[in-house]
């Protein structure tokens, strides 16, 4: 038995005997004794919580292989102990709630109200985790995944986390799709809501009526996915394959929108192109172009989403474009292929995993986006806003929201499936152990021109949008009164010097600190879980892999509002009672943003030759060591992408967190939304500017900390030594 297994067995006992089994009341202020022994499951069990005592059986079973080392079926004992332990914890947790029995059957069988218990605490969490790991170690001992305990444990942990933080909450709310208004099971209500004309109507094809919201969403999603992928590719090609002078600037421009809080892009677009917008006014005065409201509707949302999501495509694609081995391209040229032919038949097909993943992300992001349609969509309705207002609007119809979410989910599922079909079973490996001596091909002129022509105007456009935002933060009222002022910053970020030190009296500080804290905690977690998942998906083979992969996409595909409500429904009552804590915010962000880590990880990993890992394994390194020493350094662009993305997302996401914020953990975006609702755009923009600065600093810091991937590639400028390739600005 390995020391690690032994350690986890000890921890399972620690969680049961030493640590407090239950969470503390919000109002309680526990002392040290409450933390140790006196609140433990053992003491509770002896004092009357009899349902905790059976857990001693699996705890004892885990000890069997320890005390009798000669025993043959060590793995079987561990598996049985882990399974039984988890089952007991889950069953007692779900059947005994805050107000007694939770199931009607139990209530009628044993009488009301029955025993009650609070939510799980540190002890329960530790013991449950230990049982899980014991189970995984047992499976490894029985020969699963070539007996590699690291791999089985990783799979176990990720699956358990996804079950708890994705499937469990989401299923609670999707169940309401099949219920009528009083909560009874009613499949006919589902059919009626599902077949509604406002969802599937096709009137816009034949008349000037509106089409169903599902078609609108789908159409917008496809447009945005194509657009962001094309733009992202143009930026990535310029950044890696050309000698463009202002490359760095271009990169900053391309990543700026990702760090922009919601509403701000939409707002800036209105101030530029709205009927009374700055550009519209110029066009009217100079060229007599009549002012109109064209921006409200499909064009406006499309532009805003292109701005917002191109960076994601760029971040995914740049790693992939860098990773393409010049050797293949050189081979193609040696065979006398023209540079255009090479690009078209070698380079582009090798980028497929990147293109497919960028497309998928763009599509899913567009479907889930909420801030931009809210501001700009006008009468063009999309699912995400419709779902939001089904929950919080005058209708207050949660079942309808669930039905619409299922449709949204179906679209995502479809996109996911198509992506798989398109990628097929081809191999895209280009980063191998062999040294590459080739020089990356300069872009064919046609491609270079096309890239420049799309990327540069776009960058200028981004610049204009950002100029508006910066100006907006420093004038009294954007669009009306351009008197310069610091008033907005003072309201939000005033710092006073009190006798006892600095006093942060501005109204935004509170949410600002909470946001930074939550973002900083969730970013590394997101990246770690995301990349681990990507590693498992690409490097390991196990049954249920597809379902597992889909599970990782699920929380991303479901609109934030639905996730927010489902988190309250699931986590406000025992056994897992974590609403009102910062922890639930972190978890929400981790599982909403993990798919980006997974996607960029998969895109990058599918380029890296498996023989590199195998070489390391053959030389006697374990999986964990291989991961740390070989895979991770090669994954640096993906690490940067997922760290940046999750940090930024934690600072800018709106809809999910609206329901999860509390007085103590208030988030920047809810503050901004409140300001936008009140019409105080100046303040909202000023706060956003501050956030943008913080995020820029964070991105630079992440870049410096993770460092750059060094591939043995030369650049076309004939630098003598392999130069470092910078991943993202």
């Amino acid at each position: 038995m390995s020391r690690a297994t032994l350690g986890w067995i000890v921890l399972s006992w620690v969680g049961f005997v030493l640590l407090p089994w239950y969470g503390f009341e919000r109002s309680a202020s526990p002392n040290l004794a409450d933390y140790f022994v006196s609140g433990s499951a053992l003491i509770h069990g002896i004092r009357g919580a009899w349902w905790l005592l059976p857990i001693l059986v699996p705890l004892g079973m885990a000890l069997v292989p320890v005390v009798r080392p000669s025993i043959q079926q060590k793995g079987t004992w561990l598996v049985a102990s882990g399974l039984l332990g988890l089952a007991l914890i889950v069953v007692q947790g779900f059947s005994i709630g805050l107000n007694g029995w939770t199931f009607d059957a139990l209530r009628s069988l044993f009488g009301e109200p029955g025993p009650s218990q609070a939510g799980m605490g540190y002890g329960a969490a530790l013991t449950a985790a230990a049982f899980l790991i014991i189970l995984c170690h047992g499976l490894a001992a029985r020969g699963w995944c070539r007996g590699d305990a690291f791999v089985t444990s990783s799979i176990g942990i990720v699956v358990a986390l996804i079950l708890v933080f994705v499937f469990f909450p989401v299923s609670t709310i999707l169940a309401s799709a099949f219920a009528d208004n009083s909560g009874n099971f009613a499949p006919s209500a589902f059919v009626a809501k599902f077949m509604d004309k406002s969802i599937w109507g096709l009137d816009c094809l034949t008349s000037d009526l509106r089409c169903g919201v599902a078609w609108n969403t789908l159409f917008l999603g496809l447009l945005v996915a194509f657009g962001t992928t094309a733009l992202g590719l143009a930026f990535a090609l310029i950044a890696t394959r050309t000698e463009f002078r202002y490359k760095k600037l271009l990169r900053v421009m391309s990543v700026l929108p990702i760090i922009t809080p919601p509403f701000v892009i939409g707002l800036a677009l209105i101030l530029l192109f709205g009927r009374s917008g700055a550009l519209s006014n110029l066009l009217w005065e100079w060229f007599g172009v009549p002012r109109s409201r064209w921006i409200y509707g499909l064009p406006g949302v499309f532009i805003a989403q292109l701005l917002a999501f191109t960076p994601i495509a760029f971040l995914v694609l740049i790693g992939v474009v860098q990773g393409i081995s010049p050797t293949l391209e050189e081979a193609s040229q040696t065979l006398r292929a023209k540079s255009w032919t090479t690009f078209w038949t070698v380079t582009l097909p090798l980028m497929r995993p990147g293109l497919a993943n960028a497309f998928l992300l763009g599509f899913v992001e567009s479907l889930a986006d909420f801030g931009n349609p809210l501001v700009l969509a006008g009468n063009y309705e999309v699912l995400s806003t419709k779902i939001f207002f089904a929950v919080v609007g005058a209708q207050q119809d949660q079942g309808r929201a669930a039905v619409l979410s299922i449709i949204l989910l179906a679209f995502t599922l479809g996109a996911f499936w198509m992506q798989h079909a398109w990628l097929g079973k081809k191999v895209y490996t280009t980063v191998t152990g062999k040294g590459d001596s080739g020089i990356p091909l300069p872009l064919p002129r046609r491609v270079a021109m096309a890239s420049y022509l799309t990327a540069i105007p776009w960058a200028i456009f981004t610049l204009a949008v950002y100029a508006i935002i910066v100006v907006g933060a420093f004038v009294r009222s954007m669009g009306r009164d351009y008197t310069p002022t610091f008033e907005h910053f003072l309201t939000a970020f005033r710092v006073e010097r009190a006798d006892w030190g600095l006093y942060f009296s501005g109204s935004a500080w509170n949410s600002f600190f909470a946001t930074v804290k939550v973002a900083a905690l969730s970013a590394p977690l997101t990246a770690a879980i995301g990349l681990l998942t990507a590693y498992l998906l690409t490097r390991q083979r196990f049954s249920g892999q597809r379902a597992f992969e889909f599970g990782t996409l699920l929380s991303f595909a479901i609109p934030g509002t639905v996730v927010g409500v489902s988190y309250i429904l699931a986590f406000n009552v025992p056994p897992i009672e974590i609403t009102g804590t910062g922890f639930i915010l972190v978890m929400c962000f981790v599982f909403r943003n993990m798919p980006v880590g997974v996607r960029s990880g998969i895109a990058t990993l599918s380029q890296i030759d498996k023989s590199l890992d195998e070489a390391s394994l053959t030389l006697g390194a374990r999986s964990a060591t291989t991961m740390r020493r070989v895979v991770l350094p090669l994954l640096r662009p993906a690490i940067v992408a997922s760290l940046v993305y999750s940090f930024v997302r934690a600072m800018t996401a709106v809809s999910a967190v609206i329901f999860l914020v509390t007085a103590e953990y208030n988030m920047a975006t809810t503050y901004i939304v409140g300001r936008v609702e009140a019409g105080e755009f100046g303040l909202a923009i000023a706060y956003s500017t501050a956030l943008i600065l913080v995020m820029l600093l964070a991105i630079v810091a992440i870049q410096l900390m993770v460092g750059e991937r060094r591939l043995g590639r030369r650049s076309a400028s004939a630098a003598p030594s392999p130069i470092a390739v910078q991943a993202v600005p």
Binding site: R275, F389, V391, V392, G393, T670
Partner: protein, 348 residues
Amino acid sequence: MELKKTFAAATMLAGTMTAMSFMSAGAVQAQGALVMYCAVQEEWCRAMTTAFERETGIKVSMTRKSSGEIYAQVKAESQNPRADIWWGGTGDPHMQAAEEGLTEAYKSPKMTELQDWAVRQWDQSKQRTVGIYSGALGFGYNTDQAKANNIGEPKCWADLLKAELKDEVQVADPNSSGTAYTLLATIIQIMGEDKGFEYLKALHKNINQYTKSGAAPAKATALGETTVGITFMHDMVTMVVDKAPVKVVAPCEGTGYEIGSMSIIKGAKNMDSAKKFYDWALTADAQKLGADAKSYQVPSNKSTPIPPQAPKLTDIKLINFDFAKYGSSDERRRLLSKWDNEVKNLPK
């Protein structure tokens, strides 16, 4: 190597400590705490919080959300309520929560000091929610745009049907916004259901956009994105105070109004504090804070001075708004689906 290990151990310890501090949800003293969901503007929420803390020493944890969001949250939390009091925000979600038994009945000793409309709503909700302020529905128009396009001053609901205003009127979608639902209910109460829907169909031709949020047309009017915006009058007043070229109109036919309400959450963990806050929030002193925070609604306590900028309720012809009927979920569902089928899907 040893150093590295020590460092790693120290980091892990620090991490665990942070995680532990993070898991506990803000230890607030059991005596004298109050969790409040607040649905008005941030400034006003803050002013209320600090004033109440100063007055009573009770520590208030305030979270600001829109009224609909609070309703959804209170409903989702009903198994294990987190909040004690829900203060402010338009009355519909409060009425809905009262109907579903999510809030607690309470009779405050201050009830005698309140305006009739506040007491009536309290009665209709089986004592579960009480009016703290009210705001009349109306519209505002952008004077610059009106001048540029030669549009005469609109004074009545009927004026909004004029052909010059084609594509120049903005209002929220009643499915998503309580403001727009108030408009729907108001028009029906003024004109009767059949005539009312005829009016809304005619108005549909002049609507350029049904926004999602109720107050959005006020901002759009201020920016000149639309000429006329239909909102609660105090939302327009905020734009006027901000020196936008906007004129606020109280329609001549009469108009409906919202009652910003307050409810105690059923099963509140700090029931005593909640009741203390409830009584305090109905006093004139507490209601005065609204005007200081640039919110110009009409307070419900008779002796609260009405802010000079606020639209005077005496100058406005208020209809006798039937909150019990139009606030009930069945009636609302019926009207909304009728509006969806007969108005929203009409060609322009």
